[in-house]
Symmetry: C2
Subunit: 220 residues, 2 copies
């Protein structure tokens, strides 16, 4: 059963782009589009999406208000992924406070977008470490942005988990990782499980794919 996504953005171009990116995936299906927040609620009732990709800045009803309305009025509401053009958009944090499950920059790479949708669909209210890290880096250290930082904290792999993922991405087995880190295989299995859970991956292969797609490890 594919992930059913509803696109909400006032720009047709953005909707088309998201549709192209998402429909290229075997496990994701775009079930509808809306051009403003006011159209969202009836549409959600009609098509029952798993995830709503929601722009923040829209005419009539913006993403924040639409999110609030959605969570207030719809039974068993879909997950909400807030999409924005501006990284330092205060509205994004408003939306997260309103109950959105994650946020994403429009200029994120396709794989990041896809990944975010999958994670959100699985009930993970997290953003991928790399994108958040980059986001955090853009803000610098001085800024406020406690929301972004908190998100980072929630999403981030621990140091050990990061080490394990890096070794997984070099093709090592659990036993080899254990030997490398001088710990037991059971310990490695624990870390691997944690990595899989945090990344929303089903197995180590998917985790390694995510590592590559996110830039956590780079080819070459």
């Amino acid at each position: 059963m594919p992930v059913r996504v509803l696109l909400v953005d006032d720009e047709p171009l953005v909707r088309a782009g998201l549709r192209a990116v998402l429909e290229a995936q075997p496990d994701i299906e775009v079930v509808g589009e809306a051009a403003d927040g006011a159209a969202v609620i009836p549409l959600v009732r009609q098509v029952r999406p798993d995830v709503v990709a929601m722009d923040v800045r829209m005419p009539l009803l913006d993403g924040i208000e639409a999110t609030r309305a959605l969570l207030r009025t719809v039974a068993d509401p879909p997950k909400i992924l807030v999409v924005t053009t501006f990284e330092n958009d205060e509205y994004v944090y408003e939306a997260l406070r309103a109950g959105a499950d994650g946020f994403l920059l429009k200029r994120a790479r396709p794989a990041e977008i896809v990944h975010a949708v999958r994670l959100i669909a699985e009930g993970e209210s997290l953003l991928f470490p790399a994108s958040v890290r980059r986001l955090a880096a853009e803000y610098g250290d001085g800024g406020g942005n406690r929301a972004a930082r908190a998100e980072l904290e929630r999403a981030r792999l621990t140091e050990r988990e990061g080490e394990v993922l890096r070794l997984m991405a070099r093709g090592l087995s659990n036993a080899e990782i254990a030997a490398r880190l001088v710990v037991g295989t059971e310990t490695v299995k624990s870390h691997v499980s944690a990595v899989l859970a945090k990344l929303g991956a089903r197995d180590r292969t998917q985790a390694v794919i995510t590592a590559y797609e996110s830039g956590f490890v780079a080819p070459g």
Copy 2:
């Protein structure tokens, strides 16, 4: 047991580069260096490497002659990976005809170098599809280069295997791939096994890593 590699190149810089790249891998060990072909044979007898990374153009004894001499005089000779700066180097094909097991451009990416060493060590006399393909593309279609083309043929995945690898690289399980391609899971297993063998991968994770590292699939 790591792969034991002997580096043979007249330029210290190249040796240092190869050493850095190869020793960064957990399963590869550089056991010696030689600056010219004449020093290779005694050194091979002494350190018994699994793989010799051999430059073609060297003073005293070039890579071709050194390869011939090595295969003629040493019992149980190591695998020979010919390394060259120039893609259209006629000497390379000479070396392959002399018995070398594969060839590699010096400007190949680290991952490709590492991969080539691993493959060669495992007795695969093949080069990775992507690098050979790129090589072939550089030559254009008009040129001769039967050697490169033959290498390409030997290394290349079949159409079906390529499809399977692409789906593996999207995180699909054998059962999911089977459903996608409308064949039995046993068929998929056959293709997966073929892919693993041709890529010198131990499991699907390593195959996916190779797919990314080689550019067979691209992130984003």
